[in-house]
């Protein structure tokens, strides 16, 4: 059995008891390379390294596709996430000692805005940082077109024009270390690669390199990664 099939089977077994008797859609899990999350100094990221009052960025499953890492401070999920076409899927929820650490792709499902070195318009609003748009904290919001997502509910759209939830990054917590395993929900990676072909070529030299799958990810504070964190 190859690794990919093994992962799928593990997932199905792990969630079978939970899904019995529920009308949830099937769990949507697309495996990619298993990638260890690292601190800036190259050591494995530990739960105590993640401050709930901050947001973090890492690149997964491709070296050019940004994700947000968040400690919501409390156990979250699993949650059924509904899509516009009437289907739904199961989001696993948080991982870590408290079940509070979650990750989502930081590419807005509306029109693909994502954090850049110069600025980030899509950000997490930690406790105490209230979004003017939705009047609450603990949201992920894209200020380009005012879409807001709920990280406690699998990245569901709270408000705005986004047609679908943020793509969830499936994490695991094993022996005190965090791993990214794959994605859950609808992906927009192909649209991203197509829309940003020129920009990705400038940053990575070629789209082939930009599309390389990663097996480890350095996790950075968003404030350190980007010059301007734009919240609205």
């Amino acid at each position: 059995m190859d690794r990919r099939r093994f992962l799928k089977v593990c997932t199905a077994v792990a969630f079978a008891p939970f899904m019995l008797g529920r009308s949830f859609g099937a769990e949507s899990f697309k495996p990619y390379k298993k990638a260890l999350l690292l601190r800036e100094d190259g050591k494995p990221l530990r739960p105590e390294d993640i401050d709930p009052s901050k947001e973090y960025i890492f690149f997964y499953p491709y070296r050019s596709t940004p994700c947000l890492l968040i400690d919501l401070g409390k156990k979250v999920g699993p949650v059924e996430v509904k899509l516009k076409n009437g289907t739904s899927y199961l989001w696993r929820g948080g991982v870590g000692p408290k079940g509070s650490v979650v990750a989502f792709s930081a590419i807005c499902t509306h029109q693909l805005s994502f954090p850049k070195k110069e600025y980030s318009l899509i950000n997490y609003y930690p406790e105490g940082k209230v979004s003017k748009l939705v009047g609450r904290d603990k949201v992920i919001q894209c200020c380009a077109h005012m879409s807001a997502f709920d990280p406690e509910r699998g990245g569901k759209v709270i408000e705005g024009p986004a047609p679908s939830p943020l793509t969830a990054i499936v994490l695991s917590y094993e022996d005190g270390k965090f791993y990214a395993l794959g994605t859950s929900g609808e992906e927009v990676f192909e649209d991203f690669f197509d829309a940003y072909r020129s920009e990705l070529r400038k940053v990575y030299g070629s789209t082939r390199i930009a599309k390389e799958l990663v097996d480890s990810c350095v996790v950075l504070e968003m404030e350190k990664y980007t010059e301007e964190v734009v919240r609205c």
Binding site: C108, H110, Q111, L112, S113, Y119, L121, K132, L133, C143, A144, H145, M146, P161, D191, D194, A195, E228, V230, R231, C232
Partner: protein, 431 residues
């Protein structure tokens, strides 16, 4: 009795009109444009106008149902954005920011892009006539934007209208007008540079003239031009983002702008370079004359506008015309009292694409209003925004603004969001 050149034109024109009504001779001669369909029985939607509404519609109809044949007809060879153009006028974004090609989305999503001019519509036989040939439709969407109505301020003498259009272009229809206006701003050496705001709210880009006046004043200040912008406004205050604009006028460009609210224009005297208003005459050294707006000529020609109106009568809350259920008017061509803006047209087109596909399938869908998110620059790297949607009351058959939010504090963060807002919308239409 001699026949003057003008009379001759009148006679020829009258004859042409008669022949169109009585016997459409040109129609018989026009060849059908050969546009292959996905399959022989594919229904066809023809969209006239490749602006914010039409471009979005073409893509999303194909995304929702690839079996529908979609033809996008646009007379311009490329897309140029009116949103953000005020920043280009004063060199704060390059031209490449505004211009985009229809070819990538046409090939990626599989719609036909026809670079042609529509000159007539045969509603009975459902043909659109272009300079390249005729095209049959099952449904026709007129996303034809706006035209200018000079009758209120300039009159109807074609010589005066021509002066207005060529010497003092409004520059809210991208292309020639914007390029000319940019030249005029950059060549301005001093005095009064007058900008006008149309009356009412049914003009393209409600905050557009205010943003333009502010940014031109910023440009004069930066380049130490011994002159000022005079903004003639029939409203008592900017209808949106007033606080943000006043902050700019009182702080960032003070001395370079003069705001004249409640100023009703009675006459534009090109010869003496003055505008006669109820609050006094205004002398101008140069002028950006933005008059009242109306539908594009083809909407009138198709018989979709009632006598005395400027916009087509539509079956609210949707977009089918009262005269012909096979024809829809969207974007700035609609008559719903939505903000005539790029973002409104784009968000509306996402909904209309679904509506049209349902229409073809004989299905109904619940009404959803569009959304308007609109940024305006008020200084270099400072912007403000308003975000709202609309609410339809079926009992009263009325629309109202709904869920209005705004940030009137000029900031660099809003400026960054402004540019990314535009890039995102361009991505939506052209990538």
């Amino acid at each position: 009795m001699g026949v003057s050149r003008r009379d001759l034109f009148k006679a020829v024109g009258a004859g042409a009109v008669v022949s169109l009504i009585g016997s459409p001779t040109f129609a018989k001669k026009a060849e059908t444009l050969n546009l292959p369909k996905p399959s022989k029985g594919s229904p066809r939607v023809v969209i006239v106008g490749g602006g914010w509404s039409g471009s979005t519609l073409a893509k999303y109809i194909k995304k929702k149902d690839p079996k529908v044949d979609v033809v996008l007809i646009e007379r311009r060879a490329m897309f140029m954005s009116c949103p953000v153009s005020n920043l280009w006028l004063v060199d704060l974004v390059p031209l490449e920011f505004l211009i985009h090609s229809h070819l990538k989305p046409a090939s990626k999503y599989g719609y036909h892009f026809v670079n042609a001019m529509v000159h007539d519509i045969d509603r009975e036989k459902r043909f659109v006539y272009t300079n390249l040939g005729k095209i049959h439709y099952d449904y026709l969407v007129l996303a034809t934007g706006i035209d200018y109505d000079y009758s209120q301020w300039v009159g109807t003498d074609p010589r005066d209208v021509e002066i207005a259009m060529t010497k003092y272009p409004a520059a809210f229809k991208p292309g020639n007008e914007h390029i000319r206006l940019k030249q005029k701003i950059h060549d301005f050496e001093g005095g009064n540079f007058v900008i006008t705001v149309p009356p009412g709210l049914d003009y393209r880009c409600i905050p557009g003239p205010y943003e333009r006046a502010t940014m031109v004043a910023w440009f004069f200040k930066k380049n130490k031009v011994p002159g000022k912008v005079i903004l003639i406004d029939p409203h008592n205050d900017p209808p949106v983002k007033a606080e943000g604009f006043h902050k700019a006028w009182n702080e960032y460009v003070k001395g370079y702008i003069e705001y004249l609210p409640n100023a009703q224009i009675k006459e534009v005297d090109f010869g003496r370079k003055r505008i006669v208003t109820n609050v006094g005459d205004v002398k101008f050294d140069d002028l950006n004359l933005y008059p009242r707006c109306k539908s594009a000529p083809i909407v009138f020609k198709a018989g979709l506008v009632k006598k005395g109106d400027r916009w087509p009568a539509l079956r609210w809350p949707w977009y089918q015309t009262v005269e012909d259920e096979r024809i829809l008017c969207t974007g700035d061509a609609r008559n719903q009292p939505f903000s005539k803006s790029g973002n409104t047209a784009n968000s509306e087109a996402h909904i209309v694409a679904e509506f049209v596909v349902n229409l073809i399938r004989g299905k109904e869908m619940p009404y959803r209003p569009p959304r308007t998110l609109c940024y305006s620059g008020v200084d270099k790297e400072k912007a403000v925004w308003v975000d709202l949607t609309y609410k339809y009351d079926p009992k009263k058959n009325e629309f109202a603004f709904h869920n209005v939010k705004m940030d009137n504090t000029p900031s660099k963060k809003n400026w960054i969001a402004y540019l990314e807002w535009a890039k995102g919308l361009y991505r939506d239409m052209f990538s």
